[in-house]
């Protein structure tokens, strides 16, 4: 990666596709965060830790089962494990705090982040871990005469699938509709005789499941380290904010902006690539302070 002039049009296109596939993981994580923000109105700082747990759990499944079966199983088992952890945390602790001030809820999720982060250290140790993709997703395919990693292609497929599934859940199922209503007016939903606490629990667990899925999906693309929770959570927050709080399609738009500006940055100014998405976020927020799409609150 030397200078911008070294890139032809096809390199540019492939680089953008790489950015796009990175966006898909960001989208899955941010969509979960957005769901929790929209329904519970809590910025879940522990989301990054749950993502990290997802990645490490995927590592465990991969080493125990092994082979490509291990990889496919890890895509299901790791998010389920994360969902279980979040369910326990929500029912045991978090659900008793819903009446409190928002700042308290936020700080509680921060406490959860501290606890979960050290739990990962306790169970998985401090060593660097890595997961290999199954043979079918290894290597690369040629796109526009440029090699493009097969795994990124897989991500490009799975992102829209998850997005569609989430859309189905929110708009077509009873629980989804109730949680949408609870996001707008929780008092009224409660007055209609619906147990709002359980609606919150469902939304929280599904959101955390998505964080775990993001972690399991990201595992083959990078080394798993203990700091990965800190790195992702801020990005996910900013994506949710520029998209519009609680809006799942907003999370998609935000993730695309984030991923594409980052890959543009890699091409133009590799040293400052991580600054590009932040600049994009600031520009969006200056002109559309409430996010690009309609937010739920």
């Amino acid at each position: 990666m030397d200078t911008a002039s070294a890139y032809g049009l096809s390199e540019l296109a492939v680089q953008l596709l790489v950015g796009l596939s990175r966006s898909m993981i960001l989208f899955i994580i941010a969509a979960g965060l957005s769901l929790i923000l929209g329904v519970l109105r809590v910025p879940n700082v522990a989301h990054g830790s749950l993502y990290m747990i997802g990645a490490f759990a995927a590592f465990t499944v991969n080493t125990v089962v092994g082979g490509s079966l291990g990889f496919w199983l890890s895509l299901i088992l790791a998010p389920l494990f994360v969902a279980l952890v979040s369910f326990a945390a929500e029912r045991a602790l978090f659900c008793h705090l819903y009446e409190r001030e928002h700042l308290m809820l936020l700080l509680f999720t921060f406490a959860l982040m501290l606890i979960l982060g050290d739990m990962v250290k306790l169970f998985w140790g401090v060593e660097y871990k890595s997961v290999t993709a199954p043979d079918i997703l290894k290597g690369s395919v040629m796109i526009l005469g440029q090699p493009f990693p097969t795994y990124n292609l897989f991500l490009l497929v799975i992102g829209p699938v998850v997005g569609f599934g989430l859309w189905l859940f929110v708009n077509k199922t009873r629980v989804g509709k109730i949680s949408k209503a609870a996001a707008v007016d929780r008092m009224m939903v409660g007055a209609l005789g619906i147990n709002v606490s359980w609606v919150f629990c469902t939304a929280f667990v599904i959101g955390c499941f998505l964080a775990g899925l993001g972690g399991a999906l990201v595992a083959p693309t990078m080394g798993l380290t203990l700091g990965m929770d800190h790195a992702i959570i801020m990005e996910a927050f900013l994506i949710v904010v520029i998209g519009g709080l609680g809006n799942i399609w907003g999370a998609l738009v935000g993730a695309l902006i984030f991923g594409i500006t980052h890959s543009l940055g890699v091409m133009l100014l590799p040293q400052f690539a991580i600054i590009f998405p932040y600049v994009a976020v600031v520009i969006v927020l200056i002109f559309w302070p409430r996010g690009l799409l309609k937010s739920v609150w």
Partner: protein, 319 residues
């Protein structure tokens, strides 16, 4: 609300505490002296944050940025410019205040979580710059071995310097909070609409509070450099900002001295538990969760409530 704190008893207690702090270096081991000095730095940072969060009611979620800007400002001014060092010491907090003004001007149009988020994104921008701009800020290595005036060399001298600046700063913060400006700020927190109705320009008050808080965060940043002699991008990272929010919570929002107690608790916990086990964040997380459940008004807030069960003890914030 501060009237109760200025009565003779607490004033002489404070004077006694200050006297003890002044003679500490003569019998305290270096390790504890260093710990106390870093507590003072963090306490000043947390108090400056509490000015906007506790008393201003703003969602200042990335206050660490101004601390980092102050620290980086003095590091860069000393290492890159030929200015006399005492000028650098004076300029650095103003650099932080300027950052506060610019970021504040952009954020103040928004409220609550949106305010917090745009502040976090602007702060992350600065962090990413400091993290990557190797030629200027030293990148992720930071800048080490920043030359300090001879008068500040050694832990004893820097301890005294930090103690003096800290004391002057909290006196200043105290007077700012009990001035008409401070009272208006709290009124705007409790009921912004009513304040607007009687002719207070709420946003301008809040912006001014952000600038003042950033200035004192910058002072804390300078003190950090005096103590450590180095800067690194973690000073601007959002984790630090959440940590100081927690110090305010631990000690008690809405109380003047709460953040000092919070900073002292947090840093002592970190160094003493950190000596026993590497899992100190786990224990901190558990303590924090327990506090949120059982002591939401914070340690100092709880003590004040017990000592003075009257309404002035803890100013309740309207929901």
């Amino acid at each position: 609300m501060f009237k109760g704190m200025i009565h003779k008893g607490s004033l002489s207690a404070l004077a006694g505490l200050l006297a003890v702090m002044l003679i500490l270096p003569y019998f305290m081991p270096r390790f504890y002296l260093y710990l106390i000095a870093s507590i003072l730095v963090m306490a000043l940072l947390a108090m400056s944050l509490n000015l906007v969060v506790g008393f201003g009611g703003l969602f200042q979620f990335h206050h660490g940025v101004f601390y980092g800007v102050g620290a980086y400002a003095i590091a860069l001014l000393i290492t890159k410019t030929g200015l006399p060092q005492w000028i650098c010491f004076i300029l650095a907090p103003f650099a932080a205040a300027l950052a506060g003004l610019i970021i504040g001007l952009i954020c103040i149009r928004l409220r609550q979580l949106y305010f917090a988020m745009i502040q976090i994104s602007l702060g992350s921008l600065l962090w990413a710059l400091a993290f990557r701009w190797y030629d200027f800020t030293g990148g992720d290595d930071g800048i080490h071995g920043i030359p300090m005036p001879d008068i500040l060399s050694g832990i004893h001298n820097s301890y005294y310097f930090i103690l003096i600046v800290f004391t002057l700063s909290i006196i200043a913060l105290f007077f700012i909070l009990s001035s008409p400006f401070g009272i208006t700020l709290q009124a705007a927190r409790d009921n912004a609409q009513r304040c607007e109705a009687i002719g207070v320009f709420v946003k301008r008050h809040q912006l001014f509070a952000i600038v003042i808080a950033s200035f004192f965060a910058g002072v804390a940043g300078v003190l950090f450099v005096v103590l450590e002699g180095s800067v690194f991008p973690d000073l601007l990272f959002w984790v630090l900002s959440l940590e100081i929010l927690i110090m305010c919570l631990l000690g008690g929002w809405f109380t003047f001295a709460g953040p000092i107690i919070g900073a002292a608790l947090m840093l002592s916990l970190r160094s003493f538990i950190g000596m026993q086990t590497e899992y100190w964040t786990l224990i901190l997380g558990i303590i924090l969760a327990l506090l949120i459940f059982f002591l939401p008004q914070g340690v100092w807030g709880y003590i004040l409530e017990k000592v003075k069960p009257h309404k002035e003890a803890v100013v309740e914030r309207e929901a």
